[in-house]
């Protein structure tokens, strides 16, 4: 960095910080794709599970394994993105902590699922979906994700009183409101931003 040699005024420092925030926001906007991918996966897996229960047929494999297969390209893209970056914004780092923690908790919950073998864990999955979504929405002042988080928690409570097939529809709604819709909004913003640069 050439600035390292010079002294910056408070104004210039603030401008630099603003630029960093702007760049980080832009990279976060790009990540709208991750949100869309997860949203689509959760919606599809939930609806397929619902259809299997409702219409009494079996696909012959656990559809939720698709989620784990989706992790592989995601890891690949995030490593590639990390290599290309010259800096990591504080908010981006904050989000990486939140979503890594979410991943660890989902892993432990999957372990409980195999250990306890209970269908009631769907309520707990939805409760867990709400946490990173709400924090992300709050930190970025991005209301669709704040509402997405709140919807996950409301549906988690509602699912206590409903049978498993309805729970799967709730789970699909969580994927839709927490990730897919906010992801599409982010993607549209990104596209608009890109067209402004051209």
């Amino acid at each position: 960095m050439s600035e390292t040699e010079n002294k910056l005024s408070e104004q210039a420092s603030l401008k630099l910080i603003n630029e960093m925030i702007g760049k980080a926001k832009q990279s976060y906007v790009t990540k709208g794709i991750a949100s869309i991918v997860w949203g689509v996966l959760i919606v599809i897996c939930s609806l397929l599970t619902w259809a299997q229960i409702e219409f009494k047929f079996r696909l012959g494999f656990d559809v939720w394994l698709l989620v784990f297969f989706a992790v592989i390209p995601q890891i690949f893209f995030s490593i590639r993105e990390k290599k290309q970056k010259t800096f990591v914004g504080h908010d981006e780092q904050t989000m990486s902590y939140v979503w890594t923690t979410f991943g660890i908790c989902i892993f432990i919950l999957s372990f409980y699922n195999s250990r306890f073998g209970s269908n009631d864990l769907t309520s707990i999955y939805m409760m867990l979906y709400g946490i990173p979504t709400f924090i992300t929405g709050g930190v970025f002042k991005f209301k669709p994700m704040i509402f997405g988080g709140l919807i996950c928690w409301a549906l988690s409570v509602a699912s206590i009183f409903t049978p498993i097939n309805t729970d799967m529809l709730f789970m699909a709604a969580c994927g839709l409101f927490a990730w897919l819709i906010p992801g599409i909004i982010l993607w549209n913003r990104y596209k608009k931003q890109q067209s402004c640069y051209v």
Binding site: H90, T101, G138, G149, V157
Partner: protein, 195 residues
């Protein structure tokens, strides 16, 4: 910070000092961690003793301790909010984290009320203890909280191999390592900085 120009090094120092300020606030407010840590610790040990030593059938009533805890916590929160001056980025992140955690504990309690309190409930609560403290530790760059979170997750996995009665002890251990000990460390660190 002085009025004049400052180098990028000093800018970074400013950001670091903002984190340090929040950590100091957390040190001042470690009372929240200690309040909830001690309430949960006493409730876990109390329930274990009531159920297994005194054979008291309504052993779960010990968790009513949470009600005065919530009231006192809200009172403390309002008082601190009034005192607080500038809100930093880390303050904001911590705020959303703990609002989210509060709602999640409430939702989990509702789920468990439906499932029945005599089932495998503690592993799920321990999982959440770990989640809250691990992220807090990362936000504040305070390692004892990060290790506390990791310990809580290890205990959350181990507790799944034990029955309900012993899961309470795992809950007590998790809260000791993830809330109480890091909170005292945060407090003493803050005292040594301000002394």
């Amino acid at each position: 910070m002085q009025q004049g120009n400052f180098s990028p090094q000093e800018s970074l120092q400013l950001i670091q000092s903002m984190i340090a300020k929040t950590r100091k606030d957390m040190g001042d407010n470690s009372s929240h961690f200690l309040l909830w840590g001690w309430i949960t610790f006493v409730a876990c040990i109390g329930q274990f003793l009531l159920k297994n030593v005194f054979n008291y059938p309504k052993h779960y009533l010990v968790w009513l301790l949470i009600i005065p805890g919530v009231i006192f916590s809200i009172y403390m929160g309002i008082r601190e909010e009034k005192k607080r001056g500038v809100t930093t980025y880390v303050d904001d992140s911590m705020k959303y984290l703990w609002i989210g955690m509060g709602i999640s504990f409430f939702v989990l309690s509702m789920i468990m009320t439906r499932l029945g309190w005599n089932t495998n409930i503690f592993p799920f609560f321990i999982l959440l203890y770990g989640l809250g403290t691990f992220i807090s530790g990362k936000f504040l760059q305070f390692k004892p909280l990060v290790f506390g979170g990791l310990t809580a997750w290890a205990l959350a996995i181990a507790s799944a191999y034990f029955n309900y009665d012993y899961q309470m002890l795992f809950g007590a251990a998790a809260i000791l390592f993830s809330y109480i000990i890091p909170a005292y460390m945060l407090r003493s660190k803050n005292k040594s900085v301000t002394a």
